[in-house]
Symmetry: C2
Subunit: 481 residues, 2 copies
């Protein structure tokens, strides 16, 4: 461990992105590979970020009347099969339980790849009357999808952690509103807290969630030019209500099929944070979701430790009372240089260095992780400087990522230019006729998929980038994780 860490990241982010990411993840101790293909251990450094994400999103949904619950992991095969599109979409990646102890089961159980079918079997019992609506539940849990190819820690794996919300409404309009409110929450979570800019819109028919009426999505751009789907919110219409018999008596005492939404975001977001913000020295965590916002590192020779550590403790107390989470790294078996590089690897946003001269002069050195900018600050200004750096750094990180995303976008209705742009990486914004045959052609010839149809599709459409017919939509195409 120790030796490995000291070694640091040995490749440049822009030279070998894939190897760089692997090193960021493993040397930063965010994750380690499990024995089953595509599984990882979420080490404390990444799990603490997940806890921050959970905390923010949980507040958003509880503030709007949602409640948490927990549903069984094991889903009988017959349940999964009740909605035909759904089972077609998920069956190929299901882990199947066939035995308990030494006994073969009468029916196979799916380890949940998502929970629509099991949850709606309960909802069919719980929903009776309009009084029971809206039913607004969410669960935080693990889900499993057997991934064989191109697994990547956090980004694509056989097991991940997520939240899945499942709500039941009396009308399509209410369900529509819920879908959009949640997508707004995702956008706020990701942009304001993770400092990651997104594009948002509808999925095309072929990219929709298996069994949905429509799917909305937020998509990001990774530094290697691949898009990342980062959260989806679906109006499932009445498809699952029909399959599971979720009906309610309305105010006129007539039986009605319910309208359902589901929505999810996952630990994939941790991967996006590492990919987008990280640099050649390691991770860079946005201050708002960094488990430790400032690390204080005392620097001393034998005999000086008492006064240096005393001051370090005072500073810790002071900045914590201003609401900054901090850590005093007072391990005496590590050199300051070792600690610097460890905290750079882990992405701690702010470093405060205190040496004997700082004690004498009533100062401390404050270093920003993202720009490496150093400043010597008088004691009385330390807390304010840290607070303002947190704000500035959070904003700067978002602005840089936003500029990069914007730069990645090529707008064209010329098919050849689309092909070149896809090859180069980034989003291609084109007009599209709406036929899936044109999507398929793009996918087969360039590897890019239709990521989203932007909500703000105001301009007059030209000709479809593929077939030249009159276009119905603007669409963002990109290769994607």
């Amino acid at each position: 461990m120790s030796e490995q860490r000291q070694e640091g990241i040995t490749v440049k982010k822009m030279q070998d992105f894939s190897e760089w990411y692997t090193q960021i993840v493993t040397k930063g101790e965010f994750a380690d590979y499990g024995p089953v293909q595509g599984t990882i251990a979420y080490r404390p450094a990444s799990y603490a970020i997940w806890e921050k994400i959970q905390n923010v999103f949980d507040g958003m949904i509880k503030g709007t009347g949602h409640r948490n619950a927990y549903f069984p992991l094991l889903i009988p095969e017959s349940f999964l099969a009740k909605e035909k599109e759904h089972v077609k979409g998920f069956a190929p990646e299901v882990f199947w339980v066939t035995h308990s102890g030494n006994n073969e089961l009468g029916e196979r159980y799916a380890v949940r790849p998502t929970s629509e079918t099991i949850i709606y079997s309960f909802y069919a019992k719980w929903v009776r009357s309009w009084r029971d609506l809206p039913l607004l539940l969410n669960q935080w849990c693990n889900v499993l999808r057997a991934e064989i190819k191109s697994t990547k820690p956090f980004i694509r794996g056989s097991e991940f952690l997520w939240q899945e919300g499942h709500t039941v409404h009396a009308s399509k309009e209410e369900a529509d509103k819920e879908v959009m409110m949640i997508l707004d929450f995702y956008t706020e979570l990701v942009e304001k807290y993770l400092a990651l800019p997104v594009l948002s819109g509808f999925k095309s028919e072929s990219e929709r969630f298996a069994g949905a009426l429509y799917t909305t999505t937020i998509e990001m751009m990774m530094p290697d030019g691949k898009a990342l789907q980062s959260g989806t919110s679906h109006n499932l219409g009445q498809n699952f209500s029909k399959a599971f018999g979720i009906r309610f008596m309305d105010k006129e005492n007539k039986s009605q099929l319910a309208w359902i939404t589901s929505w999810g975001m996952s630990t994939r977001l941790i991967g996006a944070v590492l990919m987008v913000h990280g640099d050649d020295k390691g991770a860079v965590l946005p201050p708002k979701i960094a488990p430790v916002q400032a690390v204080i590192i005392p620097i001393y020779k034998t005999g000086e430790e008492k006064e240096v550590l005393k001051k370090a403790r005072e500073i810790k107390k002071k900045i914590e009372s201003s609401g900054v989470s901090s850590e005093l790294d007072d391990r005496d078996d590590r050199t300051p240089g070792w600690k610097f590089s460890e905290h750079e690897m882990k992405g701690t946003p702010i470093r405060i260095e205190i040496g004997p001269r700082d004690v004498k002069e009533g100062k401390a050195v404050i270093v920003r992780r993202d720009t490496s900018e150093k400043r010597s600050v008088p004691d009385s200004d330390i807390a304010n400087t840290v607070l303002s750096l947190i704000e500035t750094m959070q904003k700067d990180m978002f602005d840089r990522a936003k500029a990069n995303m914007k730069n990645s976008i090529t707008e064209t209705n010329d098919y050849k230019k689309l092909c070149e742009a896809v090859k180069k990486g980034g989003f291609v914004l084109s007009d599209w006729c709406g036929d899936s045959s044109c999507e398929i052609k793009i996918k087969e010839e360039t590897g890019a998929t239709n990521r989203l149809l932007p909500f703000k599709d105001m301009k007059k459409h030209g000709q479809c980038v593929v077939c030249g017919k009159n276009a119905k939509h603007q669409a963002y195409f990109a290769r994607a994780y």
Copy 2:
């Protein structure tokens, strides 16, 4: 739903405990039965209690340097088999994954029944030097154990939620300390927050965790005379370190086998809360872990709602600013009587009733859930009264449960009396020689198991209650869940 709820609990707790518990759980909407034997949905009413429990315990362990992480659900069969006692103990109840999609797996995967083996396979990579110790990790997750017989929501099921801590230490002494500290945390959590008294001590050799050097436990008494194991903390010694090769270089640069502890408590605690504190009207939640501590119910006829609701909102604001979590039940499609019985069923500790006369007189009626005691309180005293009721109720609930537990204990060294006492229910405290043959005889002839050997075993021992030989321990015997 609605109709069912109005019906209330139809059996008395002391007449048909098992049916009463089922009704408490289902009518109170704490849980509902899943399609796979022994699985349940944890509905919001129970999951919110779990969140409170998580919050308390998470604070305790983080305050002592533990960090959360998350490890894979799927464990290759060969990993599970590495510690012989361990696999023997768990294999009969493992759910086995044999296929992913349409492919048969080369090796079966266990759905974790507990995570020692998978976690220690990572620890073997992460622990190198004394500098890496102690390693203090915890995970909050689901675990699955195929239960066929006598499943009961929360108490015994095929899937439950828990935390499992896994720590690595340089010496047995440090591991011993960790084990005891965690057992103290469990005791504090359960006694101070859940108002549930416990006995604590060591497990006998035959009742020990599969693969442990020793196991410590907290045990409770349920109202039907059966004991409930409620949290265990194990010193695993060096057994798993040997099996998984967890070694570290000590300060003298010598390679040493590490010492490991593991410890867990689960959603079973929710079942204990419902069983012990519930009454013929429904659940009674200890105020400290009740998701809603006080419900405010406005009572009015048409034309009076405006002033009544205004006052209700004022009171909600006032008590919330004193730190009481509250809910204003202002649904206009339910009668006050219906709301009373619903909140009684759900166990909300305090009810505040406000009618037009209360508005005029500047008062409100406050009702305690546990004793049904009612009082009319002037507005200026409402917040203080609620706060003091929360304290009193919490204490009274614990004291009553403690008296019941004490009353359940029969102390005897006479085997016939032991048999009678076991039949009647409760703990039997007897002297025991330490031979498992005597434990087996008790189990076979009475159904009681050795629950624990109390830590405070100060008295001079007499003769073993079974064989009459000189006793080595005091032991508590009881039938158990």
